[in-house]
Subunit: 318 residues, 2 copies
């Protein structure tokens, strides 16, 4: 059994996963990214120990895989993650290795998600695809010739930070107009608040604070026909689809797989995304690039880190 750990801006998911990708026990805890890392890690250890204790003998744990934002697979650290107050270098691999004395592998959260789709999900039969995780931020993982694209410095696939509008919305990374400031749960919340500022329709959205509002609420309101929520999805999808066309012009993929909180909106997001992507695609790619919604449910986010752990464990085994 391996332990998969998916560290997101809002939630951390932990799960015990067998070689076939079946999750034997899991837990979701809040990340509290703005509390110190030491507080978080002690809380996390308690939860992991409880999970291990109730599901297996310690010696059955053979490896740990961790997915986290801005993770560098080469150093084993999270490096300057813009949505976390955990410092410039967060030593994840050494932390877990000291605790559990098993091999620990780290990947960018969205890269891990791409591996999860490749091994256990919608990417099982695909050799060339891009996973976009639309959560607190926008992460991405790129599969080329069946393998994860790593890049020269271990940091390929930061599509959340391609530019949408020069001088656009301030991003936590320091740049302006980054894709994730528009196309993510936080991005659509910003669009909702922009719309509430310039338009006059009444809407239940006017009763919610920025921090109260979440992606599921916006999706539900759009499903009920709320004009502001519908317009927010339309604008988000138009921007995301256009940028997916640009990504296709780099990689010529078979498919995009959308996952994360915003993807749970289903067709409200998917239909206008496909429309915008097709409109913006270079003619050589038109009609050739599928857009899929990930079938992974929330606790299956651990499957990506688990795939990473199994991959490294099997490579290391004689």
């Amino acid at each position: 059994m391996v332990l998969g750990i998916d560290i997101g801006g809002t939630f951390t998911k932990i799960g015990l996963v067998n070689r076939q990708g079946v999750c034997r026990g899991s837990k979701i805890i809040r990340t509290e990214a703005h509390q110190p890392f030491d507080t978080y890690k002690e809380r996390l250890k308690t939860e992991i120990d409880l999970l291990l204790g109730s599901h297996l003998e310690r010696q059955e744990l053979v490896a740990i895989g961790v997915g986290a934002p801005n993770a560098n697979a080469h150093t084993g650290d999270m490096e300057r993650p813009p949505n976390f107050s955990w410092g410039d270098r967060v030593p994840l691999v050494t932390t877990f290795q000291e605790w559990y004395r098993v091999p620990v592998s780290l990947a960018n959260d969205a890269n891990a998600a791409a591996l999860g789709e490749r091994y256990y999900g919608s990417g099982k039969d695909l050799e060339h695809f891009v996973v976009l995780t639309l959560g607190t931020g926008l992460g991405s993982g790129i599969i080329v010739n069946g393998k994860l694209l790593i890049g020269a410095h271990g940091m390929a696939g930061e599509l959340g930070h391609v530019n949408v509008v020069a001088g656009g919305r301030q991003c936590k990374c320091g740049l302006r107009g980054c894709l994730e400031t528009y196309a993510s749960v936080t991005g659509i919340k910003r669009t909702i608040f922009e719309l509430l500022s310039v338009r006059t329709e009444n809407s239940p959205l006017r009763d919610l604070s920025f921090n109260e509002l979440n992606g599921e609420m916006i999706a539900n309101m759009a499903l009920e026909g709320d004009a502001i929520a519908l317009e927010a999805f339309k604008r988000t999808a138009a921007i995301l689809g256009a940028k997916m066309a640009d990504t296709a012009a780099h990689l010529d993929p078979q498919a995009f797989i959308l996952s994360g909180g915003l993807s749970k909106a289903g067709d409200i997001l998917l239909t206008p995304v496909v429309e915008s992507m097709e409109k913006n695609l270079f003619n050589a790619y038109r009609g050739k690039v599928k857009v899929l919604i990930s079938k992974a449910s929330r606790d299956q986010a651990v499957l990506g880190p688990a795939a990473l752990a199994w991959m490294h464990f099997e490579r290391a085994s004689p």
Copy 2:
């Protein structure tokens, strides 16, 4: 010896190249992309026969490599090339095979250029880089883990058609605001004419028609301090550098290599490109991505197609 053929929107270059990448004889002819393909191909055959006749016995020719815009390596055709009036499918591989009865390989012109840099040029010691050919249009070739990125349908690396401005300049491909409508020889000419329309400075540029003007003239005027030419380079570089930052966020490369007509401007282009790229780079990549100007001279454009021919010849040889 192999024959390398580089088909550009303005010029076609042919050359005989040995295994070490030494060009033993070459010729440049005008492409006349708006004449019928049959006229062009007969003219091309005459020139190739002359070149072969004066440099080697027919049996010494072992393979042909062809680089051309919108070439599909899988089908052997150019497919709907936007800058050519040669129809929807231009059967290059079958044409050359019928004529010379040797193996013929085809690649997108910029993909071939990337192979040329990888085997014989500035990319010899690099595993991860992107070649941008700034000529009539903007082509690109992507090298990942030392190999050409091909994509799912044989069409990866069409960076000339990523979007710069929604609803921007009309591109020959049918889209609007494509990168090549700004960052290419044609793109900078369009910028010159835009500047001449909105500004009042006198400039020798006011004595030239759009068709007379070429990249070398603009570079020379910029070197002499012409305000319009300098501003055109500044705007071109700002856009190109920003889009290179987006490409880095996909691929995490070690370097970009700029080639083609516009790259001959050297530092007038390079300095503001690097400045704009660094300003727009996601922090994880800052200071890590080199920008090089290709050392390949105009007739060395055949080295890319020649590298392609040698690659396929050696793979096919027992």
